[in-house]
């Protein structure tokens, strides 16, 4: 369900679908909780991805039918999943060796904020009374080859999530490669945010206005 103020732009499912288009065939992929989980529903025809979940499963399949599955076959979000033919189970130290050791090709994560230098904040708002919880996010961003972020462009009150500098506690430094929002696909370059693609019905000025840091136009040599 889209909560954006836009008449146009991508829905959550379309954002996930757009991410899936950029994942090469044969990739080993870790999907975060929320919109990232939806990416698995949109694998383009002819491609095969292998999904890793950090609690010890490679070859994760879709959720079982409601009420089905088993309590000891779950994903990192602690929801019941399935294991596909060719799957493997392993313990946590091996699982995070896959992550930190650079064996995974891609991780798709949600975000609270992404800075123009690729810093990511996605685990805590740092507010008083909040119980800090980090899970595997810091390990994933430290070790996985490519980090894609999928997020609404702005918070519900319209505050940009793409910013000059993160104000929330950081998850990792300079690690985000691409950002997929309801309005656009944006890459993080040494020069800052650069537009890759606009969502249907959205223009550059709208995206630039809702981005909390300078936005470069699509590379003309693209």
């Amino acid at each position: 369900m889209s909560e954006t103020l836009e008449q146009h732009g991508w829905s959550r499912d379309q954002m996930a679908q757009r991410v899936a288009q950029d994942i090469p065939d044969g990739s080993y992929v870790n999907l975060g909780i929320g919109i990232p989980e939806k990416v698995a529903m949109y694998v383009p025809e002819g491609r095969e991805f292998i999904y890793h979940t950090e609690n010890g499963l490679l070859g994760m399949g879709p959720s079982p039918p409601e009420g089905g599955g088993e309590p000891e076959l779950i994903n990192a979000g602690k929801r019941r999943v399935t294991a596909l033919p060719g799957a493997s189970y392993f313990h946590h130290a091996d699982s995070f060796s896959m992550i930190r050791g650079g064996h995974l090709d891609l991780c798709v994560l949600g975000a609270l904020q992404v800075a123009q230098n690729g810093d990511l904040a996605n685990w805590s708002t740092g507010g008083p009374g909040a119980i800090p919880a980090v899970g595997g996010a810091m390990d994933l961003v430290a070790g996985v080859k490519s980090i894609f972020v999928v997020t609404q462009h702005c918070t519900k009150d319209g505050t940009p999530k793409l910013v000059e500098r993160c104000t929330y506690p950081l998850t990792g430094l300079g690690i985000v490669n691409r950002i997929y929002t309801d309005l656009a696909v944006i890459e993080v370059t040494p020069d800052g945010f650069r537009l890759v693609e606009l969502a249907p019905g959205v223009d550059f000025d709208t995206v630039a206005e809702r981005t909390g840091a300078p936005l470069l136009q699509v590379s003309e040599t693209k």
């Binding site: 119980i131 899970g135 070790g143 506690p169």
Partner: protein, 236 residues
């Protein structure tokens, strides 16, 4: 003859002492050794430091141990989970200490502890609040954070099957932290749904070799946390 099998969960946790560090296997409910935890609640030791990825749910298992006031400190990566209300309440009241550790660092600290490695450098948490105050070293042009190993007086884990030598196999994603906690625990207790004779587990498929396990307890039909929570069960 080597026979690590004890008669009951109560016997297996009888010597846990006040102030002990106890590693408890499980990721959420998958792999949580609920019967051993309940025996630990009955046993009464207090001031425990518990290492687990989470803090339990409802008022059974790990959450019940915390609720009973037995845990002075949690070392974990994700203390919030669906139906997790016990830990937040005590944490906000200042009645329990939290050491928050990134999940992969937690796993590697446990692995290192069991492997005789006192500390290691990792890229995880560099430049974040969880890396603050820690030694940083540049190796081959990249910076890393120093993290210290974790060991425990006791490790409580759950297996699908074990033999009397302590060889263990696990069930799907219930494996998670159990094999490394078995290595890091000075006394490791496994509750197994089946206890077999040596040789009945193919040596090629043994996941945790018996050298890492000191005690085996047969728990034929282990409870699942979500079932207990759904039924409104509380412990004790």
């Amino acid at each position: 003859m080597i026979d690590k099998q004890l008669s009951s969960p109560a016997e297996a946790v009888a010597d846990v002492f006040d102030g002990a560090t106890v590693m408890i296997g499980g990721f959420g409910e998958a792999g949580s050794p609920i019967e051993l935890i309940h025996a630990l609640i009955d046993q009464g030791s207090t001031g425990l430091t518990v290492v687990n990825n989470n803090t339990g749910s409802g008022e059974v298992g790990l959450a019940a141990l915390i609720q009973a006031g037995r845990v002075a400190k949690m070392i974990c990566s994700y203390p919030r989970t669906t139906n997790s209300t016990v830990f937040p309440k005590l944490y906000h009241a200042g009645d329990i200490e939290l050491e928050l550790v990134p999940q992969g660092t937690l796993a590697e600290r446990i692995r290192a502890g069991g492997a005789g490695i006192p500390a290691f450098y990792t890229p995880t948490s560099l430049g974040t609040p969880l890396g603050e105050g820690k030694e940083v070293r540049a190796i081959d042009g990249r910076e890393y954070v120093l993290e210290y190993a974790l060991t425990a007086d006791f490790a409580l884990i759950k297996g699908r099957a074990a033999d009397r030598h302590g060889n263990v196999v696990f069930n799907k994603t219930a494996r998670n932290f159990a094999p490394i906690m078995a290595m890091a625990g000075r006394t490791t207790v496994v509750q197994a749904a089946a206890v077999l004779d040596p040789g009945e587990i193919d040596p090629e498929v043994v996941v945790t070799p018996g050298i890492f396990v000191q005690r085996v307890v047969h728990v034929p039909n282990p409870a699942h946390e979500s079932d207990l929570v759904a039924k409104g069960v509380t412990y004790p």
